[in-house]
């Protein structure tokens, strides 16, 4: 055998290791759109709260419920867009959408996210609202870092950024809204654009 064959062996090994353990058909475009939804949702929330006659958000029935609905819609549309575009991309690459790698990715992404979501709902019920923004950023960051082992490794960095923003938010809860906009809106768009040009435009 010549060294060319060995090189081919090594690259085939790497390729198989990646293909068998990571789900890499994530779409960058869905990141951009998730960011856009977050910005629109944030603008709606801002409008709702500033038109409520108060400068800050309290749990007074309608407004709060509308903001919660707003958050839910952002998450819902982001998830639907993500699934749709990722399925499309996987089909284009001839990859399976629901196999061992994507299952592992979804499960590991959801563990911190669901725990965080439940925790946030619990403390909201205990009338503690100050840390909500920080907690959302922190748990989302942890979910991304946990998921990065089973997908494109770059997701890890987005996770770290969300964690840092979350911790800043914990110290400065007054800026919670703007840090949330930065983390879920702006960072998703920046990141999705980067991923789109790095992986999709080939």
């Amino acid at each position: 055998m010549e060294s060319k064959d060995y090189l081919k062996d090594i690259s085939e090994i790497k390729d198989l290791m990646n293909k068998s353990s990571r789900f890499i058909s994530l779409s960058g475009l869905s990141g951009i759109l998730a960011g856009v939804y977050a910005l629109i949702g944030a603008a709606v929330a801002y409008w709702l709260v500033s038109n409520s006659g108060r400068e800050y958000l309290i749990l007074d029935g309608t407004i709060f419920r509308l903001v919660m609905l707003d958050l839910f819609l952002i998450a819902f549309f982001s998830a639907v867009t993500g699934i749709f575009l990722t399925t499309k991309k996987a089909k284009k690459h001839g990859a399976k959408i629901w196999d061992a790698t994507s299952k592992r990715l979804v499960i590991n992404f959801l563990i911190p996210l669901v725990v965080g979501g439940i925790y946030i709902l619990i403390i909201l019920n205990q009338q503690k609202y100050g840390q909500t923004g920080a907690l959302m950023l922190i748990f989302y960051g942890l979910a991304l870092i946990n998921a990065s082992k089973y997908s494109i490794g770059d997701i890890r960095y987005l996770g770290f950024i969300q964690l840092i923003l979350g911790l800043i938010c914990a110290v400065l809860p007054g800026y919670g809204f703007w840090l949330w906009v930065l983390g879920f809106g702006v960072m998703h768009i920046v990141y999705g654009t980067w991923m789109h040009y790095k992986y999709d435009k080939k």
Partner: protein, 97 residues
């Protein structure tokens, strides 16, 4: 030369190397997963799996999922050590050229 000695004869085949690569990064894999990833026929894959099993580089675990028999493969400690040695030897050979 010691470099050549580390090139493992058992791994000197694309499919066996492929099986090991997949099992190195996964806790386990079943027959169908290996078949799909490596794009080989049942008989071909079975013979290579057998070779790795005989060398005690992989472990075979037979079980049932519902009523369907399912065979899971995973690496042994020996298999992982040998695979790492093999990769190191390959890399050295490439770098020495």
């Amino acid at each position: 030369m010691s470099l050549i000695n580390n090139i493992n004869k058992v791994f000197d085949h694309r499919i066996r190397l492929g099986i090991m690569s997949i099992l190195m990064v996964n806790e386990y894999a079943d027959f169908n997963m290996l078949k799909e990833l490596l794009d080989v026929t049942d008989g071909n894959l079975a013979s290579h799996v057998k070779a790795l099993e005989t060398a005690e580089y992989i472990e075979v675990e037979k079980q049932f999922i519902g009523r369907k028999p399912n065979t899971r493969y995973s690496t042994t400690k020996l298999g992982r050590a040998e695979f790492n040695k093999h990769i190191e030897a390959l890399e050295k050979l490439i770098n020495n050229k």
